[in-house]
């Protein structure tokens, strides 16, 4: 398993992702600078979180123009697996590799807190093995995490089961209408989506920050399972 972790200027979660895949799961990991086009025969490409290009213009907008994104697009087009976390999700939406866009949080606050997300679908490769669903508790840290798609797109991604994660309460119940549950006001409480084929997945929360019980706080290591499953598949 070879995992490429793309680093843009302003990316700041690359080490966390390298640690999960390399340090904890024994995958072969390597960073790829955004000016490079060579993904070095990666099996999986991760766009980690951060503030690429200082979030100038719109989050993820400038990153989509980086040379590496041509390679990511080509890789994804051939069915290669691409995972975008937080800013990586925003970049994938901007690049048109995932549907929708991320708007400012409804409450106009930068949200740095733990959330619970419910596994909604096994269409995306990141949750492919989780037929039983389940809940992951992990942090979010974003100002633009309010998922938006127009009605038509929303219906399409719901019908095709492309919604991978939804924000939920401690019991796994989704209440899209309350900010206690759906913290940033996302449409249909969507926390993560995949493309139609399932080989491109993006999510706002940070499961890579809840992978070791000793530092996972209330999240424990509930975020580790999908990373582990990806390494096995």
């Amino acid at each position: 398993m070879r995992v490429a972790v793309v680093v843009f200027p302003g990316t700041n979660c690359d080490q966390d992702v390298l640690h999960v895949f390399g340090g904890l799961l024994g995958a072969e990991v390597f960073p790829v600078w955004h000016r490079d086009r060579d993904l070095k025969r990666a099996d999986l490409v991760v766009l980690p979180g951060g503030f690429s290009y200082g979030d100038y213009l719109r989050t993820g907008a400038l990153a989509k123009l980086s040379p590496v994104m041509d390679s990511v697009r080509e890789f994804a087009g051939k069915g290669g697996r691409v995972l975008g976390i937080c800013n990586g999700f925003q970049i994938l939406c901007e690049a048109g590799l995932l549907p929708g866009a991320l708007l400012e949080n409804v409450g106009r606050r930068f949200l740095s807190q733990f959330v619970r997300i419910r596994v909604e679908s096994t269409v995306g490769f990141f949750t492919a093995g989780r037929e039983g669903g389940g809940v992951i508790t992990c942090p979010i840290a974003h100002f633009q995490g309010n998922y938006f798609a127009d009605e038509e797109t929303l219906k399409e991604i719901e019908d095709n089961r492309q919604v991978v994660f939804r924000y939920c309460d401690p019991h796994g119940v989704v209440e899209a209408g309350t900010l206690e549950c759906n913290v940033n006001g996302s449409r249909n409480a969507i926390a993560g989506v995949s493309n139609r084929a399932g080989n491109v997945v993006g999510l706002m929360p940070h499961p890579e920050r809840a992978v070791e019980a000793v530092i996972g706080y209330v999240g424990g290591e509930s975020g580790l399972e999908p990373f582990r499953a990806v390494c096995k598949s």
Partner: protein
């Protein structure tokens, strides 16, 4: 001399503008409670050099689609300015 353009980028009608809402509530506190539907946009200005007017318009339109506006949430308007 290039041709100067101004691009106005706005959120589409159905897209919640949380900045606009915040401004509205701030003004409401100062008794401007009849100011409604405040929407915040962005103006981007640029010079296009070395091409004809038609080509310049086409180029600005191209970069709007590529980068300056996100068609999922935004609409844009191009103006030539003096």
């Amino acid at each position: 001399m290039g041709i100067r353009f101004q691009v106005l980028v706005r959120l589409k009608g159905g897209v919640l503008d949380v900045q606009g809402k915040a401004i509205e509530s701030g003004l409401r506190d100062k008794k401007f409670d009849n100011l409604k539907n405040i929407r915040v946009g962005r103006a981007i200005e640029l010079d296009v050099e070395g091409v004809s007017k038609d080509a310049a318009w086409a180029q600005v339109d191209e970069v709007c689609k590529l980068l300056l506006a996100n068609p999922v949430i935004e609409q844009y308007e191009i103006r030539e300015v003096e």
